[in-house]
Amino acid sequence: MTLNAFLFQALNGLSTASGLFFVAAGLSLIFGVTRIVNIAHGSLYMLGTYIAYSFATTYAGAPGFWGGIIATALIVGMFGALIEVVLLRRIYRAPELFQLLATFALVLVINDATLWFWGPQDLLGPRAPGLRDAIPILGRRLPSYDLFLIGIAPIVLLALHFTLAKTRLGRLVRAATQDREMVGALGVNQAMLFTAVFALGSLLAGLGGALQVAREPANLATDLIVIGDAFVVVVVGGMGSITGAYLAAIIIAEVKALCIALGVVDIAGISVNFTKFTLVAEFLVMAVVLIARPYGLLGKPQGAVRSVAEPEDPIRPAKWPLKILAGLTLAVLLALPLLARDEPYLLVLGIDVLIAVIFATSLHFIAGPGGLHSFGHAAYFGLGAYGAALLVKWLAAPMGLALIAAPIVALFGALLFGWFAVRLSGVYLAMLTLAFAQIVWALVFQWEALTGGSNGVVGVWPPPPFDGATVYFLLTLILAVAAVLLLRRLLFAPFGYAMRAGRDSPLRAEAIGIDVKRVHWLAFAIAGCVCGVAGGLFAFAKGSISPETIGVSRSIDGLVMVLLGGIQTLTGPVVGAVAFTTLQDTVMRQTEYWRALLGGIILLLVLAFPMGIAGAFRMFARRASS
């Protein structure tokens, strides 16, 4: 490969960086002031491309294109303001996890709305009037529109800088980023400020998306890809730093361009295809930055957020009614194979539910009492599932061995990732765990020789007598009950107290001699290990495993289960897993718009039942008894 080709890819990377910068800058601004990580920011970007497409194809020529881009940015900005007023304003005092889930629900709803309005096909807009030609550079031809994109990012960066440094809005944004409560006590209407910032941030995302219309087709998968990239950019650059976002956007885009430019390279006789590393590369950059500079290149430690949600009630051991209920449930489950003789599907559903129970309970263990909001619990599910499946595939291992190996593989993964993750907290921890899960996913997806790539591993069937649904159901039941009881026991052991103390007040816990990081690290490892059991059981239950079953959506599903059941109770994840899996299996299979449905459920949950199903029951029980 020549140096020229290399530099050409670098230029290409710069033009990609500008779109990334717009989204990331908006995300960063919004986070700084409102402390909300808007996962729907990628969706606003996607909407930008679609709306700009409609403008450019409806109104011909320069006014339709360039006017359309400006109009799109304004429309998306107003849409952002609407989201802020209608939804986010109600959840500023809610726990962080709820805020993340609420904005994720928006992703689902916006995606289905886009599908409904524009249809499933990719839509490529016209080329930009006035910038249709290409300019010869470095022996190749670079579209002049790309040069325009390279130039516009620094202009927007300067404009944002000026706004932040010299205008009253900018001063308010900077003050509120540090201490929004004090800004309110000085007579500033926070609600107005938040709406303005949200509108500005959304406008930037819309602009970024609209500018892509002449470059890439509008596509329904853009939202998650863009938000993934934007997260990496914001975290690498430092939350709240606009210049950091620009710097990081360039770094990420250039690293990707470098991977593409390198192509297939022979290293010591082995040919390595670097184009396949684009997915892993950006998350590796992020992981490295977070480990070396936990607050990003130009970020500062987040100020302690004032006026957070009400402190949680302590969890308590189960009382008699609950124990009796649990016993009855277990009896019904044991009898289920007899009851389900006419409905064999019930057992299959039962296996799914029990696997979900293990998954959700292990996530709850660290996310609830541990306070570590992992957005990448699917990693350990995946490690367990692939650990078991690959043993069967390559070594023809028996099921027993594979099922023992599953939690061990997951344990090692959790020990490694957890060591880094527990050094961070809050949003940064969520992002780092997500990054690790993406690395696992990308490895599985791109290491075809070992994992079968996107085809996955097939033919992982359990041997007799486990090949019948009844016996496999009972096996799953035993393991699920054991997992739930073990995690419960741990929470009421001194280890569990130490873990909760570390969550509630790290400083005081350290002061009485608890090594909080170590305790949380162990908790993370235990949760990962137990989750690996779920992964192993899943592989054998389905007979196959593929990358798509261990993606981001599984991590999110887990969080929804935990919150649906109620994060502040121990029965919550169990109830949530049952409710969610059953719902997914019945209602969501019926409709093409299952995303919107799921999103609607999450929003309802966050707004109306923040304590979850089990929490609501407990509240009613208490009211009834008092």
């Binding site: 308010l172 003050a175 540090q178 402190p311």
Partner: protein
């Protein structure tokens, strides 16, 4: 004149209760501040002085009771609405915006001029006027808040609150943790503001400081008012001082 203000105090608090989470901090706090008066809210650490002030500003999650300010019920308003009615707040931990310069900090506090209920204009503040009151600040308008000494930050907190042209200022422990020379300056400032016609509610555990500036005193313990009287009465009553202040 005096008769009228006696009937309608500037700030009247009745049955104020407040909670942090499940823990109740204030039980039935009642007191009032008349126009032009400096009132000290005294008590030991943890008695509820700061919580009272935060509850008045609407900064406590759960609060109950009736608070009337300048003739209006403010007990259900949000912090910015309360501030816009002319209630200024200087918090104990100062809460200066560290990434903003002195000028910018002042600008955040800026509000339009306002009038008292009887239409008399309230004192109006500009950065220039505040630099005269606090010459130290005038020497460093471009200094970042985070690069100032504790005493300078204390002055900036007061100046920032005054930029909102308040009718009444809540001073939370202005003498806490600053050098004696600054304490003296804070006392002079409070006397100056009183001359300007402002009312002041001061939270304080230091009798010497309170004596310099206060007209009346309320003694707070365990979230309740236990004693009230004039400053002279408190001075003469060592029993009360011993019961509610001495550690």
């Amino acid at each position: 004149m005096i008769g009228r203000t006696e009937i309608k105090p500037m700030l009247a608090v009745e049955g104020l209760k407040a909670w942090y989470g499940a823990a109740q901090i204030l039980y039935d706090v009642r007191f009032d501040v008349r126009r032009g008066e400096v009132v000290a809210l005294m008590g030991r650490n943890g008695a509820g002085k700061s919580t009272t002030m935060k509850a008045l500003m609407g900064l406590v999650g759960r609060r109950e009771g009736r608070v009337t300010f300048n003739g209006r019920d403010i007990s259900r308003l949000r912090p910015y609405e309360i501030a816009r009615l002319g209630l200024g707040f200087t918090p104990e931990d100062r809460r200066i915006f560290v990434d903003l310069t002195v000028e910018e900090n002042l600008d955040i506090g800026r509000q339009p001029p306002r009038r008292f209920a009887d239409a008399a204009p309230a004192p109006e503040w500009s950065p220039e006027r505040l630099y005269k009151l606090f010459p130290n600040l005038g020497e460093m308008p471009r200094r970042l808040g985070g690069r100032m000494s504790g005493g300078e930050q204390q002055m900036l907190t007061v100046a920032r609150t005054l930029m909102g042209n308040p009718l009444l200022v809540l001073f939370d422990e202005p003498s806490e943790g600053v050098a004696p020379v600054i304490v003296e300056q804070m006392a002079n400032t409070i006397i100056e503001l009183k001359k300007e016609g402002l009312s002041i509610l001061l939270s304080e555990q230091n009798v010497h400081f309170a004596r310099l500036v206060s007209d009346r005193v309320y003694m707070l313990e365990k979230g309740q008012i236990r004693w009230s009287g004039t400053m002279a009465e408190l001075d003469a009553n060592s029993d009360v001082q011993r019961a509610y202040l001495t550690v």
